[in-house]
Symmetry: C2
């Protein structure tokens, strides 16, 4: 007897036939006494279609009304999924985010789950229902509908699993687990049996697309084991959890990630006085442009000025450029350089902390391949190098070979 | 400065262009200080499409999950309408039925509004918003979404107008008002400037499709003036209100209505003992089959048995037949006859009460046209005759000519 949350994405529920297939799979795997919560996204392209409808009406397709609109996509899915379970003879009930007790901040389009009151879910499970919950949505303290932003359904599933103390949260996806690197780039990348929250979080932040960082964070906070597995096969996928088995721990490096959504901005000749760097980054923050890597360098040749280089997501470059143009008017700077052909390559592994040779190994591989490193940043369990976009696939392959082919 | 509720149906909001047209019309008519609530239905064929999707999943396209599904249609409309107002520079906010405070009974698919707490609507109006509310939906005491059944958006609009004490509730429709008879049948039917709730309720119940009886009832209960008018013209339509002007009161007859959705059932040879008629009608009521006209006749020739004839909506005939078949097994009856080619023709008018000649006039016209009357039923402000469907248009024309062409 187990308490399980299963999340299915939009492509898994795109048609009535696919919904029926999920119902069959869930009921086949259901043991006597199992309690099951299903979290679903909007069917197929529904969200895109709703966005397109909004864009025919307004140039401002965001804010409160956008969440009112988009949340209908998941609501359609849950109603149909509940009907599909009922049609198969299984008692079922659907809940919107609000009905499932998912309270969020009032940041429309990117709400954060603040609280989850699972009373109705638990009651419905106790009454023998499969409970079908709308992913990606919640409700503010004022009763307004919010959505959770990209990957929000994963976050919903993990948050519910945490709130009801589920045995496991299964994330069904179109890949069969988390790999040591992107299999499209590195054909001999290996599927991991296990990975820690910390490692997965780094992998996700550094470009491994299989799960959103916020969902992993939520799993870590509530110690929810997350099983990433394939919608299309019965095979075990990858288990994300706090502590991994000894067998796994011996690996110093768990994965090689890369991210091409990177732009580098250099502001030259900033007066080397307190407050100027703060000014730049506070202006970016006010416009919700996230800054990733930062390097400041004082010039030896010219006293009193400094250069600052930082990276942002390439998709945020238009917003950043607006801000930088305003900056020129407010602050004496020599020049602002933008390079939108950058990428990051990273190695991740909780075991690398006590092994200084790891970083040297990574830099050596890049050097051997004549790849110039522009910026290096490190965390306790990762090392990231900023390199030219054109070299990133070569870099990933070479680094993966260096750390994994030797084992 | 006025407080106005305006309701637009699905065909009026079928496309972004049509939504923009409504926004322009509403803003053009809006005086400084006016407070406006817009109630909308689902866009165009959305509801039909959702029903069709459900039918691909289940043979039981009704109940709680169906309301979860269908309510998304109106939610899409309100979000887009609010965006359209904002795009036109008008502050606006959308509310689902739940957010608008519309509490219903827990009868899914045909919820009745039990209470309406308009706090959020009033606050949003005070903040200068046009408030856009989803028609056709509400929420139960348990937080489950309900829909209000056919014509539900009219009921939503009138209920809100009552709760906020609006000056008027405008129902925009594809006809430009209420006519003395169906203009497709009677080309010289006249548009009424005014009609009382009671008269409109009878007209609606007796087949005048322009408004649902429940919405009219709601208007009467809260004394909300209802203005039925055209989406496509600026002309005044018909005002439904408690007391009409003297000019209007002089008319004895206000309209001629007809309804072809009628079937006649005759149960022959029922034992003439207490409890048998009760049995028949309680079985029908248990299955939600509404009985309209009823005639019981004791036979002179054969003692101890009676015949009962009654009418139901033709659309409920399949359900009724099931019940009647069970009846044959439980009660000794001679035979059950069904005639599904019947119709009703009615005259309505609050002024007819003190004028016995009116009924005689109606029967005379039918007799002159060789139309046989099967059953007659009367209320304080209407007379209805059951006749053969094939004669109904002739009857309506002749009765209309008799009562209106003389004036």
């Amino acid at each position: 007897m187990a308490l399980i949350v299963k999340k299915f994405g939009g492509s898994s529920v795109a048609t009535p036939d696919k919904m029926r297939a999920i119902v069959q799979r869930v009921l086949k795997g259901k043991q006597e006494g199992d309690k099951i919560v299903i979290v679903v996204s909007a069917m197929g392209d529904t969200t895109d279609e709703l966005v397109s409808l909004a864009k025919q009406i307004t140039s401002k397709a965001y804010g409160r009304e956008m969440d009112m609109l988009l949340s209908t996509g998941e609501q359609v899915s849950i109603a149909l999924m509940a009907m599909a379970f009922q049609e198969a003879g299984q008692k079922a009930i659907s809940f919107t985010g609000a009905q499932a007790g998912i309270k969020t901040s009032d940041a429309f389009n990117k709400g954060r789950i603040l609280d989850l009151e699972p009373n109705r879910i638990m009651e419905a499970l106790d009454e023998g229902n499969v409970v079908v919950v709308a992913g990606f949505q919640g409700i503010t303290g004022h009763g307004d509908i919010t959505t959770l932003g990209r990957g929000g359904s994963d976050t919903t599933a993990v948050a519910i699993a945490g709130a009801i103390n589920a045995d496991v949260c299964e994330i069904y996806t179109d890949v069969d687990g988390v790999y040591t690197s992107d299999p499209r780039v590195v054909p001999n990348a290996q599927k991991m049996k296990e990975i820690t929250y910390g490692e997965m979080l780094e992998m996700a932040k550094l470009g491994a697309g299989v799960m959103q960082p916020r969902a992993v964070e939520m799993g870590s906070r509530f110690s929810v084991p997350i099983h990433v597995r394939s919608t299309f096969s019965e095979d075990e996928g990858t288990m994300i959890q706090e502590v991994c088995s000894m067998e796994i721990k011996q690996y110093l490096i768990r994965g090689v990630a890369s991210d091409k959504n990177v732009a580098k901005i250099t502001v030259l000749g900033i007066p080397n006085q307190p407050g100027h760097a703060y000014k730049i980054f506070s202006m970016l923050a006010d416009s919700h442009v996230d800054v990733d890597m930062i390097v400041q360098s004082v010039r030896v040749a010219k006293e009193g000025v400094t250069d600052i280089t930082f990276t942002i997501a390439r998709t945020e470059l238009p917003a950043a450029k607006d801000i930088l143009n305003r900056l020129r008017e407010e602050m004496p700077v020599e020049d602002i350089l933008v390079d939108d052909k950058m990428a990051k390559v990273s190695i991740v592994g909780a075991g690398m902390a006590g092994h200084p040779g790891i970083a040297a190994g990574m830099f050596g591989v890049l050097g051997d391949n004549h790849i110039n490193i522009e910026i290096i940043s490190t965390s306790e369990i990762s090392i990231t190098c900023l390199i030219g976009e054109e070299s990133v696939d070569t870099a990933v392959k070479a680094i993966h070979a260096h750390f994994f082919d030797e084992h």
